[in-house]
Amino acid sequence: MRHFDEEKELLRKRLLSMTGKVEESIKKAIKSLRDRDESIATKVVNADAEIDREEVDIEEKCIELIARYQPEAIDLRTIIGLIKINNDLERIGDLSVNIACASIRLLEKPQLKPIVGLSQMTGIVTGMLADSIKSFINGDVQLARSVCVRDNEADEMRNHLIRELLTYMMEDPKTISRCMDLALIARNLERIGDLSTNISEDVIYINEAVIIRHHRAL
């Protein structure tokens, strides 16, 4: 194995472990809302600093690899992809913090409605995230493409949830602030789906050297 490959492998492992942490954050943020447990949300907020640190470390390592090895072809695409995926993961971490903060605000008031739709949506977007990273690790472009398709599902669920929340707000204006926070959570989850799609698009770029962003053909 080339020395560069060993370095790349280490980076891949670090990215995988960062994904684990990010995924945990999303799940915990929603769990705090579902279980009405503020302490879980606080943990998500506190865990973000570690994700931020890891992002900076991974980026620095990527810059070092470019400076030292002048990677070409698939090696170059992999490092560029790693930088972008790393950035997306960190953003997903931030979105989980947004969700946790909304959850903390919501927990100050009585529950508006059972957290069913948001839980389902969480399942979809964490699945998308896990598969996008899995497709990166295994170089599985078919799996990456399937993630891009699933993004519509997440968008659809968000729209559905917002329509539902509108009915609550129209019925009783006192629910508006809670509905806004729930809509915000739906919006953040939907953004996680978008970023997972970005990761999958980068996986396709790494493996096939084609850029499929901005609705270019899958």
């Binding site: 020395h3 070092e64 030292r68 002048q70």
Partner: protein, 251 residues
Amino acid sequence: MVNKDKITTENLNLWFGKNHVLKDINIGIEENKITAIIGPSGCGKSTFLRCLNRMNDLIDNTKITGKVSLGGENVYNNRMDVVTLRRRVGMVFQKPNPFPKSIFENVAYPLRIQGVRNGISERVRKALSAAALWNEVKDRLNISALSLSGGQQQRLCIARALVTEPEVILMDEPCSALDPIATAKIEELLFTLKEQYTICIVTHNMQQAARVSECAAFLLLGELIEFNNTNKIFTNPADKRTEDYITGRFG
């Protein structure tokens, strides 16, 4: 973890006649690491390297001041036996320079001149294995070394340097006469060798320095401009002249 320095130089100056070639070089070459010396032609890279095992002694009109310590001992003091020094600090040159002898005898040669009688075959095998050449030559140890390819010849020269079990290996442009594949093999070999040896490599090829070394020194007109982690040198050099050189603005 801070590695300890295997070789240090203190205010090392060298003149060839009136030509002041090395100016006050202070450097510490860390044990079990690969240190690269980079710089434009004529900056004193090779001369510096050759100071470390007193190869410059062979050149007339050379004057050297300052100190070069190997494991704490000044190599320029009178008690230092130059033959022993060169056994402890081996060298590999730009062009592969095997002797017109068999593969086996090339590697065995340093042992024979040391008067070693026993265990030569085993030591030759070990050196060829360490130089990642054994598998390619084990069935034809008695053919002429000159029939090997350039890359194989260079690995043979590395094996010849390793057979005396040196502490330090100096490499003066070891890949400049080789094609990219042979170069890649030597570079991979360096990573395995550094576990046991301290390596100092002079190279014109900055990319090679970036790839293989952990520490890098930039020399310019006989002065040490910057010496730091390779990563630091290649991502954020402290001196403008280093930056200009590694980005190809001069040199």
